[in-house]
């Protein structure tokens, strides 16, 4: 598959400000959460009493275990919700643009009249999504590595990297769904809605799995379970489940390519 560096450069030329906004948001969130941790650590007993008073159902839903330990704190505050939310937001937004932006802006007619295949255009735009996510990943890992050290949180960088990459992998699964919808319809809104809608529905199913039998039985099919459900901060990435996520992403990207390569482009 041919890759077009000029197209990748153009995408980043257009969108680096938006990406910088996401990265700033993520780093600020990390800074705030890490800065608050010493207060939690210093009043460990009080927090333990407080969190133990939470209803069992709530504790299960937010997978709250040992909130005052560094790993427990980061898992609850960042890796269970906010990081997956940010990565899913970035990934779906970029993927929906990848599949439909040129067509909606009316720039597809000239771009697709060039002697390059549609497949290579979508492939390049897909690479842009991965590069953007990799950038957010690096920012997340670096800010957490620096932040946790500065407040003496006992968390390994490998664990931080595994948890952050798991969130990125989760976002990429939903981004692939966005890409399919955008590439088949040529509409960015449809792409974004599909990815984010799927993310919300599956998050509800994942969160309620400890309480609802049906959701628990289908938990093995839930991308949240493949990624952040495996305690990557403590245990690292589960290679088999990561492979399942990667295969799902690959299949969805192939489906997106099939739609984009064949369908009529709107004027």
């Amino acid at each position: 598959m041919r890759f077009h560096l000029p197209l990748l450069a153009r995408v980043f030329h257009e969108r680096w400000r938006g990406l910088a906004g996401w990265v700033t948001g993520l780093v600020s969130l990390v800074a705030v959460q890490v800065a608050v941790y010493p207060t939690i650590r210093d009043s460990r007993e009080g927090w333990s009493d407080l969190t133990e008073q939470f209803p069992e159902a709530i504790r299960k839903i937010i997978r709250m275990e040992d909130y005052t330990s560094p790993a427990g704190y980061l898992t609850t505050e960042l890796f269970s919700f906010m990081f997956p939310l940010i990565f899913t937001g970035v990934a779906c937004s970029w993927a929906a643009r990848a599949g439909a932006e040129e067509e909606e802006n009316g720039t597809a007619d000239i771009l697709l009249s060039l002697p390059v295949s549609r497949g290579s255009i979508l492939f390049t735009r897909l690479v842009a999504v991965f590069v953007a996510l990799a950038g957010v990943c690096v920012a997340g890992i670096a800010s957490l590595a620096v932040g946790t050290r500065s407040v003496d949180m006992d968390v390994g960088t490998a664990g931080i990297a595994a948890a952050t990459v798991s969130c990125a992998l989760l976002g990429t699964v939903f981004a692939s769904a966005s890409l399919v919808a955008a590439a088949w319809t040529g509409r960015r809104g449809v792409g974004l809605g599909t990815g984010l809608g799927l993310a919300v529905v599956l998050f509800v199913a994942y969160s309620l799995a400890p309480l609802v039998g049906f959701f628990d039985r289908i938990l093995a099919l839930n991308p949240y379970q493949w990624t952040i459900g495996q305690s990557p901060l403590a245990d690292g990435i589960d290679p088999a489940l990561a492979l399942v996520a990667l295969l799902t992403i690959t299949v969805l990207c192939v489906v997106a390519q099939a739609g984009f390569s064949r369908r009529d482009i709107r004027a």
Binding site: H4, L5, P6, L7, R10, H13, E14, N105, G106, T107, A108, D109, I110, L111, L112, S113, L114, P115, V116, S117, R118, R262, D264, I265, A267
Partner: protein
């Protein structure tokens, strides 16, 4: 071996749901030839051109560039084509120069020298941001990008839309030069005079059907056109009585209106003797042309 035409469509048909957008359109454009693609809005000109570019697939039939089916051939078949879409979408945050550079890199061809030369001829400031340009200036960017790689085939959808007369004149020169170098041109317009000026043959679409494909010289109504003659003093149609090819329609004040068939010279000589000041000949509407086609046996659905 006979070489394939630069552009050929064979029974090209496009259905949109249950409505027929383009109905079995077949025509050819040879190298070095300009074919004018005429038709009112919504007649299917743009649909045919977008099928030629592979942007939409025909429901039946096919479109070929130098004998290669655009729907099934490799994308490299488009290297030979310069395309100007009817609805021009450009990267607004780029300058024209950045845009040409981007397109050249995507084509893996160095065409910046020609892009700059074409921009100079069209008085286009390539350092300006496309978002800050007027509609006419953006159209110049569209024209330059279509010609900048010296394509052997040009597919131009209403290329002079928004261009002022001076720039249109320069565009005509650029087009004639491309044809002289062997380029095949398919140029759509809904202005009859433009097609008469630029094309050797004309394909006329109406409601998705090709109602005529002929030399421009054989266009119905071409031989006869309306003229209004204005005289210094009160108009006296007797000066024009018996002038070959002239038919008087009305006479009032200083003006005489009529139609002239064939050479206008006898009419002009007679009118000059009568104190002619100005001659005007209004743009013939396409409807008149279509009436002529229906009169010749063409049909409108």
């Amino acid at each position: 071996m006979v070489s394939a035409p630069a552009i050929r469509t064979c029974s090209l048909t496009k259905w949109y749901g249950r409505s027929l957008g383009v109905d079995s359109v077949s025509f050819e454009v040879q190298p070095g030839e300009t074919v004018g693609f005429l038709g009112p809005n919504g007649s299917g000109k743009t649909t045919v051109m977008r099928m030629l570019m592979g942007l939409i697939s025909p429901s039946t039939g096919n479109a070929e560039i130098f004998g290669a089916d655009v729907a099934t051939s490799r994308s490299s078949v488009r290297a030979a084509i310069g395309y100007l879409p009817g609805t021009l979408g450009l990267y607004g945050t780029m300058t024209a120069r950045q845009y040409f550079l981007f397109l050249g890199r995507m084509r893996r061809a160095d065409c910046m020298a020609r892009a700059e030369a074409l921009s100079d001829r069209l008085a286009l400031d390539t350092g300006a941001r496309i978002n800050d340009m007027s509609k006419g200036t953006r159209q110049k960017v569209g024209v330059v990008q279509a010609f900048m790689h010296s394509p052997r085939v040009l597919v131009l959808d209403e290329p002079t839309s928004g261009l002022d007369p001076l720039v249109q004149h320069e565009f005509d020169s650029i087009l004639h030069e491309a044809c002289a170098e062997g380029a095949a041109v398919l140029l759509s317009s809904h202005v009859l005079a433009e097609v008469e000026r630029l094309a050797q043959r004309v394909a006329i679409l109406d409601a998705g059907r090709l109602v005529a494909f002929d030399d421009v010289a054989n266009l119905p109504g071409r031989a006869s056109r309306m003229v209004t003659l204005e005289f210094e003093g009160p108009a006296d149609p007797t000066h024009l009585a018996g002038v070959p090819g002239f038919r008087l329609l009305s006479c009032s004040g200083h003006q005489v209106t009529g139609t002239v068939t064939g050479s206008q010279r006898p009419m002009l000589e007679a009118a000059l003797r009568g104190g002619l000041v100005t001659v005007t000949s209004p743009e013939r509407p396409l409807d008149e042309l279509f009436r002529g086609l229906v009169g010749r046996g063409g049909t409108r659905s």
